[in-house]
């Protein structure tokens, strides 16, 4: 079976399976068009740890832990667990931070942008357009942009993110309550998107399966467009196409396809900010070398730099809510515009500062 995943059609097969699982998770209870959303789910985890206090988006999403652990097991099984790190970790942290700001202005990571489209949410079109323009950041890459080479690290360094993922699961099951007034330190939403979730074991199984699949096939929503741009290689792009088509088919079959702009789940209709939010995210992901799902997978493979990027996303999510930069169904937050512009300026500055750094 692994041969099939490692073949040139691997990403397309994986994309279809991930698309089906994504649509099914909504049926099982995840928020609308949010079978998977690396940004939203990481934001929910930040909330569950009390890093932000937006009461409607707090849950320890087992899918995220599953991605990391699934990739970790797969990498170990196929001798691809190669701990490495040291490629400008602080810059990667900041890129993760701002990638999350952009994603929460749009209300979704690239995975969810495609899932929103597959659910009939046409607001996603502006976001995907922004994403593609952001991936235009390959201009920096083709001009010699590099955050520097990573180096092998001691093997143990690669265990940190899988252990963090395991800790998420432990806290999810144990639900410790020893904070002031018997609340926290783990918080779970009682209403809103954070309260909408598939049964834990289904979410976890889905996360593990997708983590495994994505590790084997290198499924990447940024690489898909990027490789088309720089080497006209549609290998990964086919993964995105089959991802969207599979999710669309299942959504239609389950009555989850609701075409239109208004009243879409966890989405707003401010097209300019949908575009600019994803522009920021796309640029940040491109400079860092992959989409947020891919970052989780690589962190499971022992890539400390990807792990640092994920932690940047976690903290970025907390800041996005604490600084009212995150959007809601009503539109962008009071400081969403400013945060997006600051993020864009930062990413462009990184692009220019690290151009011509390729050895």
């Amino acid at each position: 079976m692994d041969k099939m995943f490692m073949s040139k059609n691997g990403p397309a097969i994986a994309g279809a399976i991930i698309g089906v699982i994504g649509a099914l998770l909504v049926k099982f209870g995840n928020p609308g068009n949010m079978g998977f959303c690396v940004a939203c789910f990481t934001r929910d985890i930040a909330g569950a740890f009390g890093l932000h206090r937006a009461a409607v988006v707090q849950y320890l999403r087992p899918e995220i832990a599953g991605f990391i652990i699934g990739a970790f097991i797969s990498a170990l099984a196929f001798s691809e667990f190669r701990p490495r790190g040291g490629s400008s970790p602080m810059v990667r942290f900041a890129l993760g931070f701002f990638a999350m700001i952009g994603a929460l202005v749009f209300l979704g990571c690239p995975w969810r942008a495609y899932l929103r489209l597959a659910g009939g949410d046409f607001n996603a079109v502006a976001g995907i357009a922004g994403l593609v323009c952001g991936i235009g950041g390959v201009w920096f890459l083709c001009g010699g942009f590099s955050l520097g080479a990573a180096r092998p690290t001691p093997k143990a360094a690669g265990f940190v993110m899988p252990l963090f993922a395991a800790a998420i699961l432990v806290f999810l099951f144990v639900k410790p309550l020893f904070g002031p007034e018997g609340t926290g330190p783990i918080f779970f939403s009682e209403k809103g998107p954070g309260a909408a979730h598939a049964p834990i074991l289904i979410s976890l199984a889905a996360g593990l399966a997708v983590g495994w699949l994505a590790q084997r096939t290198r499924f990447c929503t940024i690489g898909a467009v990027r490789d088309l741009m720089i080497v006209k290689d549609a290998h990964l792009f086919k993964g995105i196409l089959s991802f969207i088509i599979a999710a669309l088919i299942v959504n239609v079959a389950l009555g989850q396809f609701k075409p239109g702009f208004e009243g879409q789940p966890v989405a707003h209709t401010m097209h300019l900010w949908n575009f600019l939010g994803m522009l920021l995210s796309g640029l940040a992901f491109t400079l860092a070398g992959g989409c947020p799902g891919r970052m989780l997978i690589m962190s499971g493979e022992g890539d400390s730099d990807a792990g640092v990027f994920v932690l940047g996303m976690l903290i970025g999510a907390a800041f996005a809510h604490n600084f009212t930069a995150a959007s809601s169904a009503a539109g962008i937050g009071p400081h969403g515009a400013a945060a997006t512009i600051i993020g864009l300026v930062f990413c462009l500055a990184v692009g220019f500062a690290f151009k011509n750094k390729m050895a």
């Binding site: 080479a149 080497v231 860092a288 070398g289």
Partner: protein
């Protein structure tokens, strides 16, 4: 016969492919050895060199993999 060694070890996606592309386009023909440190980079480089019409092989090294492209 020109022989070039390209060290792409530790670089993030898609930089190994970008440096390989730049080097091979400059060489036009000859033999190039591209050093990478992950299986993903190895696959990406091989997919590119093969599509670009270079005869490609690879072997495992102490620090990862060495991909050889000939034309």
């Amino acid at each position: 016969m020109e022989k070039n060694t390209i060290d792409a070890r530790g670089l993030s996606c898609p930089q190994p492919v970008i440096v390989t592309k730049a080097a091979l386009e400059k060489m036009k023909s000859g033999t190039a050895e591209i050093l990478v440190d992950t299986v993903t980079s190895r696959e990406n480089v091989i997919r590119f060199t093969t599509r670009a019409g270079w005869k490609t092989s690879w072997k495992e090294t102490e620090t990862g993999f060495a991909v050889t492209a000939e034309k």
